[in-house]
Amino acid sequence: MAAREVLRECPIFESLTDTQIGAIVGISKPRDFDPGASVFSEANNAEELFVLEKGKVALQMHLSVQQPQFSRRITVDIVNKGEPFGWSAVVEPHRYTLTAICLEPSKVLAIDGLRLKTLLHTDHQMGYEVLSRLINVVASRLDETRQVLISERLTSLQV
């Protein structure tokens, strides 16, 4: 699938004009990942925003506890085809808050975060459209995380 079509299917870019989409295509590049590969890691510098073209990606959070042997990563959300992830690339302090692990052979479109921010500053209408939709993504991730924490609490009560 062409980069332009991938962006058209992504909820945060769907309302943009052809010219605006073309500008984002110019700062994007496709990447392939094997199952189990990490697209990015929690606390690393967030340089790219991703759109999943094919496959499935798990977003995981590191759970630190006092005994290191019980520290582990828990999945807080699953990214499906057409969805964006790695929003920290356009929001300060530009550090990924989660780790992204591919569950299937995956193809992603990687958008340069810094250049995207410049585009959003230059074209205010585009900036408003993209950022207002990005907020929905962040809110959705928070909701999923909340559900997982509820599940974890229920589990601890159950066991």
Binding site: D32, F33, D34, P35, G36, K56, A58, Q60, R72, R73, I74, T75, V76, D77, I78, I101, L103, E104, P105, S106, E144, Q147, V148, I150, S151, E152, L154, T155, Q158, V159
Partner: protein
């Protein structure tokens, strides 16, 4: 390898998928299913108790089940697989990508023939026997990503569908090409006719001109009155186009 006893544990929320996976893994000699789990918590507990050689986990596994009014994300598969792999030494853990599966109530896959487990990579799937996982002792935290593939019915129908699609595409291209060629030939024919017509008209014009010239040579020059007017001196003159001379009428 015939005498190998491989104990497998299967974890999936869907009973029909568990049944299907059991059938698939037990087709291999020396392999038997020793436990089944319906959620991540149960899978981890069962794996600690049963100590299977292989654990097969559905990636869409919920973390827990059975709580009314609590919406649960089906995201426990990876967590359960990672935890089992890290906490139980020597167990080979496989995470099953089950998203495209459409399993019927009796544990069969719609339209599928013989099913097998395929190791997934970015370049495609590779069929492998479960016993292969145990040749080298699995390292902690390492997962094998697999999917269910069908060998005969689906593969044959898939191949046939592909061939049909390609044939149709080729036929469509041929029809379009033919129409294009026909259109080009019609245009070329019309162009040739137009050129011949142009040549004919040109030759006709040439013949006409030669005829006029010949007629002019045969006929004596005639004075033709074109216009009559007066110059500044009040003299009237007549212009004869055929000879180019000007004669004054009143001098």
């Amino acid at each position: 390898m015939q005498d190998t006893k491989v104990g497998v544990m299967v974890a999936s929320e869907r009973p029909e998928l568990r049944h299907l996976l059991k059938r698939v893994v037990e087709r291999e000699p020396g392999v038997s299913t020793i436990g089944q789990a319906e959620n991540a918590v149960r899978a981890m507990a069962l794996a600690r108790t049963l100590r299977p050689n292989v654990v097969l986990v559905d990636s869409d596994l919920p973390h827990i089940t059975g709580r009314e009014g609590v919406r649960l994300s089906r995201i426990g598969g990876l967590d359960a697989a990672s935890s089992i792999s890290q906490q139980i030494p020597g167990v080979a853990v496989m995470l099953l990508n089950s998203s495209p599966l459409s399993v019927t109530g009796d544990g069969a896959l719609d339209g599928a023939g013989e099913l097998y487990l395929s190791r997934e990579t970015a370049n495609g799937g590779i069929r492998f026997p479960l016993a292969d996982l145990l040749v080298k002792s699995p390292s902690a935290g390492t997962l094998t990503f697999v999917s269910l593939q069908a060998e005969t019915a689906v593969s044959a129908s898939h191949t046939f569908t592909k061939i049909t699609e390609r044939t149709m595409a080729l036929g469509g291209a041929a029809v379009l090409g033919g129409i294009g060629l026909m259109f080009t030939l019609i245009l070329a024919g019309a162009g040739i006719l137009l050129a011949l017509f142009g040549v004919g008209v040109f030759l006709l014009g040439l013949a006409g001109r030669a005829g006029v010239a010949a007629w002019s040579r045969v006929q004596p020059p005639r004075m033709k009155r074109v216009r009559s007017t007066a110059d500044k001196g009040g003299r009237k003159w007549q212009h004869a186009r055929s000879s180019g001379n000007v004669r004054f009428l009143n001098h």
